[in-house]
């Protein structure tokens, strides 16, 4: 009873203290998240909701370093096959279930064994867990896995209440229960997701809004209009074409971060019958196309300077970028010479499939006109995204304008695309040396050794060019000028810690 009174008093006091502050933070997303179960969900926008709803074992800094969240410290054994974590004490889930080592074990088991789990491959290296004490757990691996901590800094590391998860099963996402700074209140599909402040959160002082409302608004013009009219406090994915306008508006501001992902052109090297074509068989043609493209012009013309040029799986500002392979300058003569060398001095045709969005089409049209000057006659086949991906998987393509949203660990940007028979290797590119280097980088926790492997692989890939990397997207947020304290992260998440609204 006394406890209840104290809580009530505390709640009242904090309500009075915050009454001068805006109580609700309204954030516009570009689409409606899918199911709100960290083990089942797959959308990018869903992860943004989780930053407020579900805490993870570890988090990242804007420089991609791993830092504590629910785990306060951790250490590897010498072989790199056991990760011992110390957990934060005094943490509870939104339903009152205490957070402890048992809860972590249950969560890892859920990610690994629930039929609907989409996290299986992310935690596949874990062979078991050992609860060492109420707040200490050891995670055992079959072999060293350098990517594991980065996985635990994302959905695989999000802790859901074991009580609620056992009760709801696969329907957990209809009313998720986690341990984040905000708890789930209500969701109306395609309309809103409402979270309210969790008073017992371990770091509640850093979160300054009573409620958070996420609103999916797909049209970028309408999203911006909602910000301008004051109906929302911040928006995700401001269109590059609107950046100048927002910068000139004193009541708004823009924040940016270069993303972890990339966009490029993937070639069909050996995926089915269609892989047997001049573009798939002769790397000189792919090199010629790359030389015909002016990436900086693309950045200026299509993206108003918001999409830095790139030529590797990691953006140039990443610690994993190989600086000995800078983005090449456009050289039409060299491109023509390569075409002639390959036996196509009179030019060659190339069919590229691209998603049917205005930006992707504009991008391909710019590339089309640049390539034409070198004698490469590109025809663009525009497809709805799901169709394009399915054709790509089936090998029904010559070249595909496609990208990847990016992962915190470098492995996530390259291993599954470039190793023989890997899940996302739609090019069906295969090179034993690349396989060896990328496998090696996966199992060592020595950063310098990993970097060496990635650099060596980058040099081979730069010669073979199964993918011509073009540019790296920038996350662009527009905020009401009254919003303070937002820190942009390259993972594109909108973290609410320290964010305030002044009146």
């Amino acid at each position: 009873m006394t406890f209840r009174k104290t809580t009530l008093l505390a709640a009242l006091l904090s309500a009075t203290a915050l009454s001068a502050q805006a109580a609700d933070f309204r954030f516009a997303l570009e689409s409606d998240p899918d199911i709100l179960d960290p083990d089942q969900s797959r959308t990018f926008v869903g992860r943004i909701v989780y930053t407020a709803l579900c805490d993870k074992l570890v988090d990242i800094t804007p420089d991609l370093e791993i830092v504590p969240q629910l785990a306060t410290e951790w250490s590897w054994n010498d072989e790199g096959t056991a990760l011992t974590m110390t957990l934060r004490e005094g943490v509870t889930f939104h339903d009152g279930t205490p957070f402890d080592a048992e809860a972590v074990a249950a969560n890892i088991e859920r990610s690994q064994t629930m039929e609907e789990s989409r996290r299986k491959s992310e935690v596949a290296s874990i062979t078991g867990t050992e609860v060492l004490g109420p707040h200490q757990i050891r995670i055992d691996l079959a072999q060293p896995d350098a990517t594991l901590l980065a996985q635990l800094a994302d959905r695989a590391g999000m802790m859901v209440s074991p009580t609620a998860a056992a009760e709801a099963g696969a329907d957990f996402g209809l009313a998720p229960v986690c341990s984040g700074p905000y708890k789930f209140e209500e969701r109306v599909a395609q309309d809103k997701i409402v979270l309210s402040k969790f008073a017992e959160y371990w770091n509640a002082g850093e979160f300054h809004f009573d409620t958070v409302t996420y609103l999916p608004i797909p049209d970028s013009t309408v999203r911006l209009a909602n910000l301008q009219s004051g109906d929302v406090d911040a928006i995700n994915r401001l269109a590059a074409t609107d950046v100048a306008q927002v910068r000139n508006d004193p009541s708004l501001k823009v924040e940016e971060a270069v993303s972890l992902g990339y966009q490029g052109i993937t070639f069909n090297i050996g995926n089915g019958e269609r892989g047997d074509n001049p573009w798939g068989n002769d790397a000189r043609l792919r090199k010629a196309l790359e030389l015909a493209i002016d990436r900086n012009a693309i950045n200026q013309v299509v993206f108003e300077g918001t999409a830095p040029a790139g030529n590797q799986a990691f953006p140039p500002n990443s610690p994993w970028y190989d600086t000995s392979l800078p983005v090449p300058e456009r050289d039409v003569e060299a491109a023509k010479a390569l075409l002639a060398e390959a036996g196509y001095e009179n030019g060659i045709d190339l069919e590229v499939q691209a998603p049917n969005t205005p930006v992707n089409l504009q991008l391909m049209q710019v590339i089309q006109s640049m390539a034409a000057e070198a004698g490469i006659n590109i025809s663009i086949t525009s497809k709805e995204f799901a169709t394009m991906l399915s054709d790509q998987t089936a090998g029904d393509f010559t070249a595909s304008q496609v990208g990847w949203s990016g992962r915190v660990d470098p492995d996530g940007n390259i291993h599954q695309f470039m190793t023989t028979d890997a899940g996302l290797n739609d090019a069906k590119y295969s090179n034993e040396e690349v396989d060896r280097l990328l496998d090696e980088a996966r199992v060592t926790t020595d950063m310098a050794a990993r970097k060496e492997s990635y650099d060596a692989a980058a040099k081979i890939l730069n010669e073979d060019k199964p993918i011509i990397y073009l540019y790296h997207e920038t996350w662009i947020w527009a905020l009401d000028d009254a919003i303070e304290g937002f820190v942009p992260y390259p993972d594109g998440m909108f973290r609410l810690a320290g964010v305030t609204k002044s009146e």
Binding site: S121, D171, A189, D219, V222, L389, S390
Partner: protein, 314 residues
């Protein structure tokens, strides 16, 4: 009249069955694999295999259809592949939203379209007629999405008079709900108003030329009474049919309007479902919409009996 309605309902049954087959078949012809769409960027083969099994995508198409129809008959339209919510629940959640939008749009359409039609018929050949025609033509030819965005920029951003987009249920805050829905209803209503105006005008012109109107005038009835009581009532029959048929246009228009104004209604549900290849949702919505359309038509036919005494005697 009752036997007439009953007959219409019996005829409607094969229509609904045909529509269900058509919708189901058409979906299967859509390019793009729903399971791949669900599997997301990672496209993990194990997940894909599991999902195919779970949603019975490996069964022959006719088995899938039979399973679905069996559910439909028992009131179970399946669950959304994307959010795990039951389709019936989604429809129950979204239908009132779109009905509110459609009704408000219909009010705009009727209030603008019918008086404008009468006026331009009565004042045929005058400046009033021409102005009304130009306005109607603009209403027909200005695309919804353009008008919508322009209104948002003007009314919400510049004047800050109405919310830019979104939806508030009337039960939560009636005034805010009406305010939020005002712009979308206007955008959706204007296009219909134009159609209504043109039809009212031609129906009125036909009736105004008829003998009984001349007789009424000869009797010395007030012009106002002649037009509203005698002429308009008879011109009303085609207008009622049209309004019922406009229901289809209203739903189609709502798809676009809801997309622009981010209204979580039927139209937005179906568009998002198509893009996410959320088959169960698309099938459920199309079936329910088709049934709604049939019901509206039966109601329109029934309304003839009320409006036209000659039919009542047959």
């Amino acid at each position: 009249m009752l036997s007439f309605v009953a007959r219409r309902i019996v005829i409607a049954i094969p229509t609904v069955i045909l529509i269900s087959i058509f919708v189901f078949g058409l979906q299967k012809l859509l390019p793009g694999d729903p399971i791949l769409a669900m599997a997301g960027e990672e496209r993990d083969p194990e997940t894909i295999a599991f999902l195919r099994e779970k949603y019975r995508m490996n069964d022959p198409v006719w088995v899938q259809y039979a399973t679905w129809i069996k559910g439909v008959v028992t009131g179970n339209l399946g669950i959304s592949l994307r959010t795990n919510q039951p389709v019936t629940e989604l429809i129950a959640q979204k239908l009132p939203v779109t009905i509110q939008l459609a009704l408000m749009a219909l009010v705009f359409a009727l209030v603008i379209g019918i008086p404008a039609g009468i006026l331009s018929a009565v004042k045929k050949g005058t400046i009033t007629d021409y102005v009304a025609n130009v306005v109607a033509l603009s209403g027909l030819s200005i695309p919804n999405f353009w008008l919508g965005i322009m209104l948002i920029l003007l009314v919400a951003v510049k004047w800050q008079a109405l919310p830019a987009s979104g939806y508030v249920p009337p039960g939560e805050d009636l005034w805010l709900s009406l305010k939020t829905m005002l712009m979308p209803a206007f955008v959706l209503g204007t296009a219909l108003a134009a159609t209504l105006m043109r039809h009212t005008r031609s129906a009125m012109l036909g009736v105004l030329k008829s003998d009984y109107v001349r007789t009424a005038r000869a009797k010395g009835l007030a012009e106002r009474r002649v037009i509203l009581r005698h002429a308009f009532r008879n011109a009303l029959t085609p207008i009622v049919t049209l309004t019922a048929l406009l229901f289809g246009e209203l739903i189609a228009g709502a798809v676009l309007t809801e997309q622009i104004f981010t209204i979580p209604g039927f139209g937005k549900l179906v568009v998002d479902a198509v893009f996410n290849r959320d088959y169960a949702v698309v099938q459920g919505i199309v079936l329910v919409t088709a049934m709604g359309f049939i019901v509206m038509n039966i109601l329109a036919d029934a309304a003839y009996f009320v409006l036209n005494p000659r039919l009542r005697k047959q």
